[in-house]
């Protein structure tokens, strides 16, 4: 059974936010609009967070792209009262939109603030409507959503492999953000395969997890600027 993992090399990340846009187009993330966004309701499954260390003039600025970490010990999964948020056999954390009661316990529990709530009925401008991805369900008002590691792509890749009569390979599947990344800063693969690139990268001394000290065991990891 694979365990899907993402690595993000901060040295290569340009902060261009192409991943954010790709994610939005791929996953039909609704548009909040400027007014709602100002209230902190913008939906960015993959947010690029600017962060800085030190004080002027000795400042180091960096960008940290933050998808859902798909934590192995995910607090969102723990607290969900109805098992609407769950971790599937491959370790990916998903939301059942038909079951979620909208209590937002998961959103307050997630230390990465990676979850988003549908405050209103989802809205898409006319120009976007024609480009909605038919593979991804549109979430109704009142439920929680977040990055899925583009799980629909995985399903499709498996079906494709089966149709072509070959064995599914880990390399058949990448999320949209990884495919789009301008700086080629993102890697994706199976952590249970010791030979995979992500497994190798995890051994690098540059590898670290966000908020490692919280013990959530995130599956997304980063490579520190060298």
């Amino acid at each position: 059974m694979p365990r899907w993992t993402m690595a993000i090399d901060l040295d290569k990340c340009l902060g261009c936010q192409a991943c954010t846009v790709a994610c939005r187009m791929e996953n039909n993330t609704p548009i909040a609009g400027p007014e709602q966004a100002a209230k902190g309701r913008a939906m960015l499954w993959n947010e690029v967070i600017p962060s800085s260390d030190g004080e002027y003039p000795n400042v180091t600025a960096r960008y940290i792209p933050r998808p859902c970490m798909h934590c192995d010990d995910a607090l969102c999964v723990k607290v969900c009262p109805v098992k609407a948020t769950y971790r599937n056999e491959e370790g990916t954390v998903l939301v059942d939109y038909d079951r979620c009661i909208g209590c937002r316990f998961c959103t307050v529990a997630c230390p990465y603030a990676a979850r988003y709530f549908n405050w209103h009925e989802p809205y898409y401008p006319e120009t976007l409507k024609a480009h909605l991805n038919p593979d991804v369900a549109i979430r109704p008002k009142g439920v929680v959503e977040k990055c899925t590691f583009c799980v629909h792509r995985l399903r499709k890749a498996r079906e494709q492999a089966a149709a072509e009569g070959r064995v599914f390979q880990a390399s058949d599947y990448v999320p949209a953000c990884v495919e789009t990344c301008t700086g080629r800063a993102r890697y994706f693969g199976d952590l249970d395969d010791p030979a995979s690139l992500v497994s190798q990268l995890l051994k690098s001394p540059r590898a670290f997890h966000l908020l490692e000290e919280l013990g959530t065991h995130p599956k997304v990891f980063y490579l520190r600027e060298g």
Binding site: Q36, V79, C80, P81, R99, I101, V108, F117, L214
Partner: protein, 446 residues
């Protein structure tokens, strides 16, 4: 009819104009809250001031506040029953009613806060006990059920009296007859009732403690800064009893005035309960101090922004008002005997209820505005949240008022029993003194 019966039954018989005025005001406010909720339901939770990452706000504050208030009643009257405090007899009914209605309105807040309230049944269908939400659901349900029983059982003998003596006809008569369950008041029945009440009184204490402990664990079980703290459970329980007694005072003072119960709700009750309130105030201060001293001394990078937001930042008005209203003013008022009067306790209680609501608010909101990752946020509640809060308060009062328009405000039989016990005690004392005198007479005669 005895005097107590006459006094207690009077408001059930006749309804004055002032009742309808009060009823209309409360009903209108409740209706306004309902309107705001319908608006929220049709438009989505976006009409509130909530955002990412401040996903919880006023509704959760209200939830904790009302569930806290519910500890007035049953817990207090249970403890007083178990310890056989005789002066409790005239306040238990009021206290138990506060509990039941506070629980109803408190539970409602969770439904109001849900994005998909129509799926609430999923909690039963797919509920998983790993989630603190389910702990709350279970504990509060059990508490509600036992509180209703606990309100109802001791009312049986009074209902039977109403059945026998209520002169009005119609549905009221029918209501009392049905609810009295064929109570005859013989020895056997009394014996069983006393036993049932005694068992319930003991059982309900751990239930009540569990309720507010798991309410706090909704926050405590997450890793959010200043929520993830072991002190939260007992801190919440103390705060709950504190605000509960304060609300009980307000209810008592109101009923005393409106229903002319001065003879039974005396200065004595206000004095004793006032002492209890004083103790809770001191305990609350102690817990608050412990919480903040450890936070500041440890100075964890995640927690400091939250603590600073509360004490110096945008929440400082709420924080310092809370300290003043919960810790300082009640202490100053209640420490002296002259402060523990009806007037004094009512003033202290108003402060405490406001202070405790603010306390809940400063626990719920600030932690969420200072996330570890992503930008700091501000939380500005909207008119919808304010209206629903006012509506909820009005609804609580409305339920209370309507209930006591239909049911007796004192446990008449218990009060009578208390008087009897008191008289017997006096008699015993008299006999003892006479014996003593006789004995000393004999001694001096020798």
């Amino acid at each position: 009819m005895s005097r107590i019966e006459q006094t207690v039954f009077a408001p059930l018989r006749t309804t004055g104009k002032s009742f309808w005025v009060l009823f209309t005001i409360l009903a209108a406010l409740t209706g306004w809250g309902v309107f705001a909720y319908i608006y929220q339901l049709s438009d989505g939770l976006g009409v509130t001031g909530l955002s990412r990452p401040v996903y919880w706000g006023i509704y959760l504050t209200n939830f904790v506040f009302f569930i806290g208030i519910s500890h007035a009643g049953t817990l207090i009257s249970a403890i007083l029953r178990v310890t056989q405090a005789n002066w409790r007899r005239s306040i238990t009914r009021i206290a138990e009613a506060v509990t039941v209605f506070a629980l109803c309105v408190g539970g409602l807040q969770i439904l109001i806060d849900m994005g998909r309230p129509e799926r609430a049944l999923n909690v039963i269908l797919y509920g998983r006990y790993q989630s603190p939400f389910l702990w709350d659901f279970t504990c509060i349900s059990i508490y509600l059920f036992s509180s209703i029983t606990y309100l109802y059982l001791p009312m049986l003998p009074d209902l039977a009296r109403l059945r026998d003596k209520f002169d009005g006809a119609g549905w009221r008569k029918w209501l009392y007859t049905t609810l009295a369950l064929g109570w005859k008041g013989n020895y056997e029945q009394h014996h069983r009732l006393e036993k049932a009440i005694a068992i319930l009184a003991i059982a309900i204490i751990p239930i009540a403690v569990s309720v507010h402990t798991v309410v706090s664990w909704i926050f405590g079980m997450t890793l959010q800064p200043m929520w993830h703290s072991t002190i939260l459970g007992p801190y919440f329980v103390v705060g709950a009893i504190f605000s509960g007694i304060a609300t009980l005072f307000l209810a008592m003072a109101l009923m005393r005035k409106v229903m002319h119960l001065e003879e039974w709700l005396t200065e004595k009750q206000f004095n004793y309960l006032g002492l209890l309130l004083l103790v809770m105030s001191v305990l609350w201060t102690y817990f608050t101090l412990s919480e903040y001293v450890t936070t500041f001394y440890g100075a964890l990078a995640d927690e400091m922004p939250v603590a600073n937001a509360k004490i110096f930042g945008e929440f400082n008005w709420a924080f310092w008002t809370m300290v003043l209203f919960n810790g300082i003013l009640p202490f100053v008022i209640l420490i002296r005997r002259s402060g523990r009067t009806v007037m004094g306790t009512v003033i202290a209680s108003i402060f405490i209820d406001i202070g405790m609501w603010l306390e809940r608010f400063t626990i719920v909101a600030p932690s969420l505005t200072r996330p570890r990752l992503s930008q700091w946020a501000i939380y500005q509640p909207t008119w919808v949240e304010a209206s629903i809060t006012i509506g909820s308060l009005a609804m609580f009062a409305l339920l209370f008022v309507v209930f006591f328009k239909l049911f007796p405000s004192l446990a008449i039989w218990e009060v009578e029993e208390g008087v009897e016990i008191e008289e017997r005690r006096k008699l015993a004392e008299k006999i003892r003194l006479e014996d003593l005198r006789a004995a000393s007479g004999v001694a001096s005669g020798e």
